[in-house]
Amino acid sequence: MSLLVVEDLHTHFVSRDLDNRVRTAKALNSVSFALAEGEVLGLVGETGAGKSLTAFSIMGLLRPPARIVQGSVRFAGQELVGLAPEQLNAVRGARIAMVGQNPRGALDPLTRVGEQIVRVILAHQAVSREAARAAALEAMARVGIPDPARRFRSWPHELSGGMAQRVLIAMALVNRPTLLIADEPTTGLDVTVQAQILDLLRTLVREMNMAALVITHDLGVVAHYCSRMAVMFAGRIIEMGPVEAVFGTPRHPYTQALIAATPENLTLDGASPLGGRPPDLFALPPGCHYVDRCPIATEACNALPPWRSVAADHGALCHRVES
């Protein structure tokens, strides 16, 4: 059974302009994917494609004017869309944990880091403070923080980015979640530290048998780290399949361009490697979102492309892909 099922998820930014007319930025458009227990899915796409927004939508972390206008997120059989914050809090941080792209900004500047881990434990487990403290120290040791007892009393501003990310990983794992969402967990870290953090995450995900949604710009991370991958473009998943299949025979023209353009280091580096501009979310084309940049577009592409499966678990959202 799937642990996480995201189905037909639409997240929009609904705001009003100066003339009080409603403007809608369609940031996520019918995003669907599923994640089995223990599976590691990579989510890639250029900046602004909607990767973080997908994560926030799953976790119920959207802030106005963003909201889910349609679709469902089922986690272990439970519908999360529309849950009250108190009910969501039984899931967030306990069964689904998240590690973000700005570790130093993600820590409360006025609370010692150890206390922050303790706080997360006490929010979800009925244990004493001493037990929580012991568990926090153990988690800190486990993520490779040297001298945890001393670091426990550190302030966030005293930590390096890599150390802060280790603290956040400890915080994410301390309640033994079954799903980890890692949103560009190594952005902004030194290259050597990036590798360490990735190794740490991989080890922990394996040891704890977690499922993981790994959001990244770095196709190399996906290649080495994930079993399946999904490619996003302008709020849609436009291709999804096993990593070898997508890298080996990419079907969607965007994926093809992406992989062709990044052969050496396999990184998207934030911007589009293809030079094109992402489409305006306030005025998306009616059919395929990629139509303006696609070299093989036809008249038909002005209509919504169908999801074409090329194998049992590999498919793309394109008129010109043959099933």
């Binding site: 926030f56 976790m59 119920g60 972390l61 802030r63 106005p64 914050p85 108190e86 969501l88 809090n89 039984a90 899931v91 967030r92 941080g93 306990a94 944990a97 998240m98 973000g100 700005n102 900004g105 993600a106 820590l107 409360d108 500047p109 006025l110 609370t111 706080r119 997360v120 929010a123 979800h124 302030w155 501003h157 956040l168 915080m171 994410a172």
Partner: protein
């Protein structure tokens, strides 16, 4: 860095600032073009008499000498006497400063007590009913002229409803003031355990302090709301939500992280609202510092004006010092900025 070292560094920074303020103060009054000699000597004075008065005041000496004398006088607590009524400036400051401070502290304190929670709550319900109400009230407070507010309050609560005592000073005219300890009749009454004095002083305080609080609360609501909104939007709040921390824990976190900028703002309010306090003090016939200073400016009473400006400057410097210490104690990052 210890608090002691921090304080020493801050105080050392304050010294040149104070000298500079004293200099400006000295110069501004000298170059204002107003000559008090004629005022003091009287309309019938002869040229010789005028020169005598000038010499007596030291006004015939070169400016830099006058300035050194002025600094020396300040350092020996000699602020001179009024050229108009010969009263000691320092004595008048001691007499009147507590009056203004009482209005300022109770008023801004009450304003903060109302404004901060309202602002935080408005931020929590961003764009909701409560937020809209808070924004409206804040705007209303902003756009109400202080003197009008004071007069309307007197009209309604004294004249029509007769709930408040007449706006004539800080204590009933029939009562003797308690022995001076703090200069506040309310506190001095409490210290002397004179309950009728406490009651009368309190009754006199209600309207002016409320007026002051309304004026102070408007910007505090606005600012506390903006600060809390900013904190709520920060990444660590989102990551706290992602970790499933309860609403109460997150609320506390937002309040704590808003504390430093909010405290700083309330402190600046304390110095910025002295003018407002002067207006209110005037309307309610309190005879505080503001009334005294304004009169001196009109009469070109240099010594009093200098004493007045110096007092305000010292007060601001002190307030900012206290803010700095509070921030130092609240912020683990403070040592980095210090």
């Amino acid at each position: 860095m210890t608090l002691g070292r921090f304080l020493v560094r801050r105080l050392l920074l304050v010294v040149p600032l104070l000298v500079f303020i004293a200099f400006l103060n000295f110069m501004l009054v000298r170059i204002s073009g107003q000559d008090p000699t004629a005022l003091i000597a009287g309309p019938t004075a002869t040229g010789g008499e005028l020169a005598m008065v000038r010499a007596e005041l030291g006004l015939d000496r070169p400016l830099h000498e006058q300035f050194l004398v002025y600094i020396g006088n300040i350092l020996t607590w000699n602020l001179g006497q009024s050229w108009v009524n010969k009263r000691s400036v320092l004595n008048d400051i001691w007499l009147r400063l507590p009056i203004t401070l009482e209005l300022l502290f109770w008023g801004v304190g009450l304003g903060a007590l109302i404004g901060i929670p309202v602002g935080l709550r408005a931020a929590r319900h961003h764009d909701g009913r409560f937020d809209q109400l808070a924004r409206f009230l804040s705007l209303l407070g902003f756009s109400t002229p202080t003197y009008w507010l004071g007069l309307v309050m007197i009209l309604v609560f004294f004249y029509f409803l007769n709930w408040a005592p007449p706006a004539m000073g800080r204590i009933s005219l029939l009562m003797t003031a308690p022995p001076v300890v703090t200069g506040s009749y309310l506190l001095d009454g409490l210290i002397a355990q004179k309950w009728d004095v406490v009651q009368s002083a309190f009754a006199q305080l209600v309207l002016p302090v409320t007026a002051m609080a309304i004026v102070a609360a408007a910007p505090i609501i606005k600012q506390a709301r903006a600060i809390a909104l900013d904190v709520q939007g920060s990444e660590f709040v989102r990551s706290a939500q992602a970790a499933g921390l309860s609403g109460a824990v997150i609320r506390r976190m937002v309040a704590k992280n808003s504390a430093t900028p909010v405290i700083t703002f309330v402190g600046t309010e304390l110095t910025a609202l002295i003018g407002t306090a002067s207006v209110i003090e005037y309307i309610f016939s309190w005879g505080g510092l503001g009334q005294w200073g304004l009169q001196a400016i009109i009469q070109a009473d240099f010594m009093v004006v200098q004493g007045y400006v110096l007092t305000l400057a010292l007060f601001s410097v002190l307030v900012f010092l206290v803010i700095d210490v509070a921030v130092f104690l609240l912020e683990p990052r403070a040592e980095m900025h210090a």
